[in-house]
Symmetry: C2
Subunit: 355 residues, 2 copies
C-alpha cells in the first residue's frame, strides 16, 4: 500500500473559517465571540469537503494520507494561549471526524495549542487527547510559534522536553512544521517552511537531543528544506563540530518527506539520504497546486517523480511508500495490522537498533 | 582562466581582531576605544596571511578570487551605526591593500556599514569609495542586518533603493550575504546563511524589483540556499503568483554560486539552473574547512565536483569558470581585458538583452 505522510486539511468548510473569524474578532469585541464550538458541519459536508483529495489519491495511486489541520491555519502567534487551545481543539476534532468517516483514506495527526513564549507543557493534554481519544498517530510541532521572528528557544532546549517526554510515552512522532509567517520577509510556503526545515535539522545537528530521547522520532517535511542539497556541508559541519557522522548522530531519529516538486530534486534526495529515512509525501492539496507546463502533470504529484528514479529497487520502493511510515508511526502500524495489512517487512533499521 | 567569485578574508592578522575587540569594548568603557584606525599591519604580514588561500588556488587550479571581508565578521547588529561605519572602512581597507599587493590572486568586494533599522542610504558613500578609490568590483549586501531577527523590510522594499541606484550607477553587482546570527535558533553557516539565500530569492520572486532596476545584478551565494533543490516549487509558486516564468522574471538579474559541497548537489544545480546563471565559487577558506572522509578531498574543493559533471560542455565550463563572472562583474571584465585576458566570449544572455 502507499502511505502519504503529509496532507493538510486545506479544503475546510466555510463554517470553520467563520468560527476562526469570530474567535479572533471576539478578542477586540467580546460580543462577537463564538457562542459554541459546535460548528454545525454535517458528516455529509465533511465527506464532500475531501472529495478532491480522494480523487487525487485514486488518480495518483496512493491509498492512505496522514492528515492534519491546515499548517498555515495553526497561526500560533495569533490571539492568546486560550485562543490557540480552543482553535487546536476545534481543528483536531474535525480531522478526527474525517478520519472516522473515511478510515481507509485518512489517519489523523494533530495541531498543538502552542503560543510564543509559553512552555509547550501546555500542549501535553491536547496531544494526549488527540492520540488516546481521537486515535491520531502523530503531531505537528511548530519550532517557531512566533510566526517568523524565532523568539522561542531551539528545539534542543529543555523548554521543549515536556512535549518530547509525552511523544515518547505515547510512541508517536512529530513532524516539525511551522505555520504562517507574520514577518513580511518570509513567504510562508516559499521561504518560512523551507527555512524552518533547514533550521530544525541544524539545531538537531548542533545538539545531542537523542541522547536524552533515544526513541523520539522527528520528520523534517518539504524534503528536509535545504539539507539534502547541502548534505556535504552538513557532513562537514558535523565533523567540524566534533559530532558523530550524520548517520550515527541523527538518522535513527530524523526522517525526511518527499515534498519536492520536480524530478531532479527527488533524484538528489533519494541519492544522498538513506532510503530508510525517506517517507513518501505530497502535501496535497498543498503548497503548489497547479500543473507543471514542462511535464503536463501536477507539480505535487510526487509519486510520478519517484516512479521515474531508476536507481530505486523494489525493496526501496516498499520502504519509501509504506514500511518506513509504519516504522516511524508505530500506532499507524498497529492500526494497519489490525485491518489485515501484513507487516513482516517493518523492521527497525540498524541505526535505530543501536539506540 | 578560473575565477572564484566567493572568498572571504578569514585569516586576518590578530591586529584586526584586537581592533574590533577594542572598538566594541569602547562602547562600554570609552577609555578602551582604539586611538587609531591604523592597525600597524605590514604588507609582509598581509601577504603572509593569505598564503594558504594562494596555495589552495594553485593546488585546485583556480586563478583569481573575488575577495571580501569575513562575512560573519561584518556583524551589522553589533554596536552602533558609527561603529559599523568605522568597522566597514577598516575591513575594506585591508582587502584593498591585499588586492593591490596580489592583483593576480585577488580582486576586492566590499562590506557595507549597514545597521538594523537604518536606511541603507548611509552605505552609499562607502560603496562609492570601495569601487572608485579601492577598485572593488562588487559588494556584499546583508538582507538581515539584525543578525537573525529579520526586522528590516524585504529586499524589494523601497528602503533598499538607494543602494540599488548606486549599484546600477557604478555597474557593480551585489552578493546577498548575511552575517553572523545573534539568534540562538540559527547556526550561521548551517542555517542562517542558507535561510537568507532562500528568503532573498523568494522575496525577488514575489516582487518586481527588476522592472525598476533592469540592469541590477544580484548573486545568491551557497548554491542559492534551498532554491535549486526546490526549483519545481519555485516554478509553481511563480505560476500561482501570476508572475512570468523564473527565467523571464529573475534570470536576467539573479545568479547562483557553486558553494555546494558534494557532487550530487553540484549535479542538481547545473541540471536545473541555466549555466548562464551559475558562477564558480568555493568560499574558501570558509564554512567547511575539513577533508571529506568519503572522497579524501576537501569538502570546499568545488572545482572537483564540477570537473566530474559529464553533462557540461567545454562552452558551459568556460561560462561557469570565467565568462559568467566577467559578465556579472563588468568592472572585473574591464580589469582583466586591460591585463590582456581576451574577452570575446563575454556576451549578454538573451534574458539580459531582453531587459
Amino acid at each position: 500500500m502507499i502511505i502519504d505522510v503529509h496532507g493538510h486539511y486545506t479544503t475546510e468548510p466555510p463554517a470553520l473559517h467563520d468560527f476562526r473569524k469570530r474567535q479572533l474578532a471576539g478578542q477586540t469585541d467580546s460580543g462577537r465571540e463564538p457562542t459554541s464550538t459546535d460548528l454545525g458541519i454535517s458528516d455529509e459536508e465533511l465527506v464532500k469537503s475531501v472529495e478532491r483529495q480522494r480523487e487525487l489519491q485514486k488518480a495518483r495511486g496512493s491509498d492512505l494520507t496522514i492528515f492534519s489541520p491546515r499548517a498555515s491555519g495553526m497561526a500560533h502567534h495569533v490571539g492568546t494561549e486560550a485562543i490557540s487551545r480552543q482553535w487546536a481543539r476545534v481543528s483536531n476534532d474535525l480531522i478526527g471526524r474525517i478520519c472516522s468517516l473515511l478510515p481507509d483514506n485518512f489517519v489523523g495527526v494533530g495541531q498543538l495549542p502552542q503560543f510564543p513564549g509559553i512552555s509547550p507543557r501546555n500542549c501535553v493534554p491536547e496531544l494526549e487527547r488527540t492520540v488516546t481519544e481521537l486515535g491520531f498517530v502523530g503531531v505537528n510541532l511548530n519550532p517557531d510559534p512566533s510566526g517568523g521572528y524565532w523568539t522561542d528557544p531551539p528545539l534542543t532546549d529543555r523548554h521543549w522536553y515536556p512535549i518530547y517526554e509525552k511523544l515518547c510515552e505515547l510512541d508517536v512522532p512529530a513532524m516539525i512544521h511551522v505555520s504562517s509567517s507574520c514577518n513580511p520577509n518570509f513567504h510562508h510556503t516559499g521561504a518560512h517552511y523551507l527555512n524552518a526545515d533547514t533550521t530544525a535539522f541544524m539545531q538537531l545537528l548542533q545538539g545531542d537531543l537523542f541522547e536524552d530521547f533515544p526513541t523520539l522520532k522527528l520528520t523534517i517535511p518539504h524534503g528536509g528544506g535545504a539539507v539534502p542539497y547541502h548534505w556535504g556541508r552538513y557532513r562537514g559541519l558535523a565533523q567540524a563540530l566534533k559530532k558523530p557522522t550524520l548517520a550515527e548522530h541523527l538518522l535513527a531519529n530524523v526522517y525526511f518527506d518527499t515534498c519536492v516538486y520536480h524530478l531532479a530534486g527527488i533524484e538528489l534526495l533519494t541519492k544522498v539520504v538513506p532510503i530508510d529515512n525517506i517517507l513518501f509525501a505530497s502535501e496535497m492539496l498543498g503548497a503548489v497546486k497547479d500543473i507543471d507546463p514542462e511535464t503536463g502533470y501536477y507539480f505535487d504529484d510526487t509519486k510520478r517523480y519517484i516512479d521515474q528514479v531508476e536507481a530505486l529497487s523494489e525493496e526501496d520502493r516498499g520502504k519509501l511508500f509504506e514500511n518506513n511510515a509504519r516504522r516511524v508511526y508505530p500506532r499507524l502500524d498497529v492500526l494497519l495490522t489490525k485491518r489485515g495489512h501484513p507487516r513482516e517487512r517493518v523492521r527497525a533499521t540498524a541505526a535505530e537498533r543501536a539506540n
